[in-house]
């Protein structure tokens, strides 16, 4: 058996791959790309929501949103460190994000125009993220799977706080209900796009399935999301902005309309409403923090030298 065959046999037997194990270069590369993109999405994902922390309508909403955004920072950090176990350098990953070489989930390139958007993001965007992430808890690469277990435990509060916001608005005044409907209208389709291109157009799917990085295809996960979410929208008394949504008795699924992939690719290519603003904000945070990182390093170095010198005196 070649090394590659041995590797595949381990995967087929559901034995997890750990950092120092032999792995094909392409497996390593695929994982670094996927995990770092995932990390970037968590980090950039803080921006649209962070926009509303200071304007949350009550203290209860504010502490919840603050905790959620802080969780997303944590998710980014778990994931960066998982990518580092594969030999990726943190600085390189961040530079790739800033230069536009690395992608992140294109959903975060849409603006958060009203408070209802915070509800819609928690409900739909975190809901879609959960759908994607739960199967990743069984990903063949150990450190990624373990990071996902932590992430998934934390995500369910995110979705619930979002749905609660939607519920409050939907039961509120006419104006509040209209706000909730408007947010659903704007976030619905981008949320469906979060699952990625249709299976027939997804170039990485088959290999990732064979390697058990992915457990379900984009279209399977998208269908599950629609099936789960449509009744939740009905409960809110809101209308999903798709005239083709219809329960299909035979299939046991909801049929839904065509996704505008042109819009998707356009946003991925950098022409979404907020792409430039998002990267600018990330770069600014990184650059403005440079002196803090340097000062902390200089301080640590000084303390290390001093304690070495003191130890030297004692020995003498």
């Amino acid at each position: 058996m070649t090394q590659e065959q041995k590797f595949q046999a381990k995967i087929d037997e559901e034995i997890r791959i750990e950092p120092k194990d032999w792995m094909p270069e392409a497996y390593r590369k695929t994982l670094i790309r996927q995990i770092s993109q995932h990390a970037h999405s968590e980090i950039v994902g803080m921006l649209p929501e962070g926009n509303w922390i200071t304007r949350a309508p009550s203290l209860r909403r504010k502490v919840a949103l603050l905790a959620k955004v802080q969780d997303e920072a944590g998710h980014g950090l778990y994931l960066y460190s998982a990518a580092e176990t594969l030999g990726a350098e943190r600085d390189d990953m961040i530079e790739d994000l800033h230069s536009g070489k690395a992608k992140y989930s294109s959903i975060f390139n849409y603006p958060t125009l009203t408070w209802a958007d915070i509800g819609a993001i928690g409900w739909l965007v975190d809901g879609a993220a959960i759908m994607n992430q739960v199967p990743l808890c069984r990903c063949s690469y150990g450190p990624y799977a373990r990071a996902m277990v932590r992430v998934c435990k934390e995500e369910s509060f995110h979705q619930r706080q979002g749905y609660e916001i939607m519920l409050t608005l939907a039961k509120g005044t006419e104006e509040q209900k209209a706000m909730a409907q408007d947010a659903l209208n704007r976030w619905w389709w981008p949320s469906l796009m979060m699952f990625g291109p249709n299976d027939k157009d997804s170039k990485h799917t088959q290999q990732s399935m064979d390697w058990k990085i992915k457990r379900f295809t984009n279209d399977e996960l998208r269908q599950r999301f629609v099936d789960m979410t449509v009744p939740q929208a009905e409960y809110l008394g809101l209308t999903v902005p798709d005239p083709d949504i219809k329960w299909n008795e035979e299939e046991g699924h909801y049929d839904f309309g065509k996704i505008n992939w042109e819009e998707f690719w356009n946003v991925v290519k950098g022409n979404g409403p907020c792409n430039k603003q998002r990267i600018r904000a990330r770069k600014k945070a990184y650059d403005d923090g440079a002196w803090v990182r340097e000062a902390a390093m200089a301080y640590a170095e000084k303390r290390r030298k001093r304690s070495e010198a003191e130890a030297g005196i004692k020995v003498a």
Binding site: E18, K20, D21, W22, A67, Q70, D71, G74, L77, Y78, S81, A82, E84, T85, E89, R90, D91, D92, E95, P143, R146, A147, E154, R293, E294, A296, M297, Y299, A300, R303, R304
Partner: protein, 96 residues
């Protein structure tokens, strides 16, 4: 990116409650060990997951190599007599 001065990488171990040992939870970057503990508190224990944290700079961990795992662990595989089930004791004999 060797021209940049990265904060070193630390591995983080957490004791979730007294009576249990510390368990590896992940890693993070920090300027020194003290900061690593503070960061670990924020990154890995936001929901009371721990009561004690250990951090150690990743470069100080020596790991066994997976390529040598056969020669390292094989010797234990044929020593069934190290397990209680290897010994025949009649059922009538209790508490053993």
């Amino acid at each position: 990116m060797s021209d940049k001065k990265n904060w070193p990488l630390y591995e983080v171990f957490i004791r979730s409650k007294n009576g249990l040992s510390h368990k590896h939870v992940g890693s993070l970057h920090a300027a020194d060990a003290e900061m690593a503990i503070e960061n670990a508190r924020d990154v890995y224990t936001r929901r009371s997951e721990g009561i004690s944290i250990w951090v150690v700079e990743s470069k100080y961990i020596t790991a066994s190599s997976p390529e040598e795992s056969e020669s390292l662990f094989d010797p234990a595989n044929d020593k069934v007599y190290r397990h209680p089930t290897f010994y025949n004791i009649p059922d009538e004999v209790k508490h053993m």
